[in-house]
Symmetry: C2
Subunit: 245 residues, 2 copies
């Protein structure tokens, strides 16, 4: 900023989306197959450039979610995760990406995309361990997204975002167990949830039982923060899935 005719550099701005959900009681992340270079054919998280100079960043995130994954972004938890802009992370030049974290209830398999060659849910674990390789620095982005989700479960009511409009307490427990990769005591969990104001609200009715007493149904309450927080125990391998780091 000392030269008279110095001009600030311009960069390409993208959004990337770590979209987490629960399938078969284990954490999954949405991946798309890249249809264009660079990294054509490799898997990556959904994302893309701003469509024009004036598009707000959050709008771009919702647009890509819809374009690449065919998912409606309305009434979906979406927050900024961080900036990934190391020089050299994209061969096309200086590309700075604003990563976002999105949580959605479990969905059936077919996820159609108009822009990407293919979209599918992959086990988060496979990405974190590297069994599922990703383009760019997307493995790191997913890892940061998963870690963010783990943290938020402690202090916020985020867990309900993984569930549909109504759910049981044990559904909620499965969210915690899958995301944290541990197992929890159902009795203490039940007490904790019930004792936290505005976390869940009973909605009359019960889910038809699968060989046991029917479970009461709840919906997400108005509360957004958990106090006292949910305590994440030291990692104890759960039945659900092995725990990476």
């Amino acid at each position: 900023m000392t030269d008279e005719d110095w001009q600030p550099p311009r960069v390409l701005l993208t959004v990337d989306l770590v979209i987490l959900t629960l399938r078969n009681a284990s954490l999954h992340v949405l991946l798309v197959e890249r249809g264009i270079e660079p990294y054509k054919g490799l898997m990556a998280v959904p994302g893309g450039f701003l469509c024009d100079e004036t598009e707000p960043v959050p709008d771009a995130a919702r647009r890509e979610l819809s374009e690449e994954a065919g998912l409606d972004a309305d009434a979906l938890h979406l927050e900024e995760l961080g900036v990934y802009g190391a020089p050299g992370r994209d061969p096309r030049g200086r590309v700075v990406s604003v990563a976002h974290l999105a949580i959605m209830p479990g969905l059936p398999d077919p996820v159609a995309g108009t822009d990407a060659a293919a979209a599918r849910w992959s086990r988060a674990d496979d990405v974190l361990t590297g069994r599922q390789g990703l383009a760019f620095d997307h493995q790191r982005i997913v890892a940061d997204g998963v870690e963010r989700a783990r943290r938020k479960l402690e202090h916020s009511a985020l867990a309900t975002a993984f569930c549909g409009p109504s759910f049981t307490i044990s559904d909620l427990q499965q969210v915690y167990e899958a995301v944290w990769g541990i197992s929890l005591d159902p009795r203490n969990f039940y007490r904790k949830i019930q004792g936290t104001r505005d976390f869940v609200i009973p909605v009359g009715g019960a889910r038809k039982s699968r060989g046991g007493r029917p479970a009461r149904l709840f919906r997400a309450g108005p509360g957004t923060s958990l106090f006292p927080p949910m305590i994440r125990p030291a990692l104890t391998p759960s039945p659900a899935e092995g725990r990476p780091q």
Copy 2:
């Protein structure tokens, strides 16, 4: 992304720095007077454009810290705060800023800058209430930075970053009281700090008393996260400063 010859838009990338410290037992934020348009003459947080295409974002943050505020960024807590890129926030065009949060020990008044017309510490409270107006969306950025610091005090050992190399327990308490804007019981606070592993480590010696028993000196311990967390009480106006928000 449908047109054949569509080109992604380029944006100007800046870094902004919310630098917090404690002065006279109250939270202050570093502001600089803008030396150039737009908003010339108004106060703003330090920041500026990337110097070239290849500069990493964290490097730019440390560079601006040094250039605009004359502060050495080594061994200083610095983390990403968020992205502020609403179209129209800067009259020069589409400018996307990556805001950072930095904490430093209390410093003497003179803060010299080579790039900005003037630099000085302002009471965070004055910024939050709008008594001290800021350029761009910097009031919001400062508010987010202060809120982030408040949150981090709960779960991390961040408080020691406000203190010098050695400090007393009541110094640490003043950090909590100033940032949170409440008052705490010194006895319970002492017990809590002592009982948290790796938070503080006694370093022989005591600070010369100011009319009371001398206080033992400590230094920051290796621990980075607090468990169980420090609990932030419901807001009770403290002697230190009125609480906005």
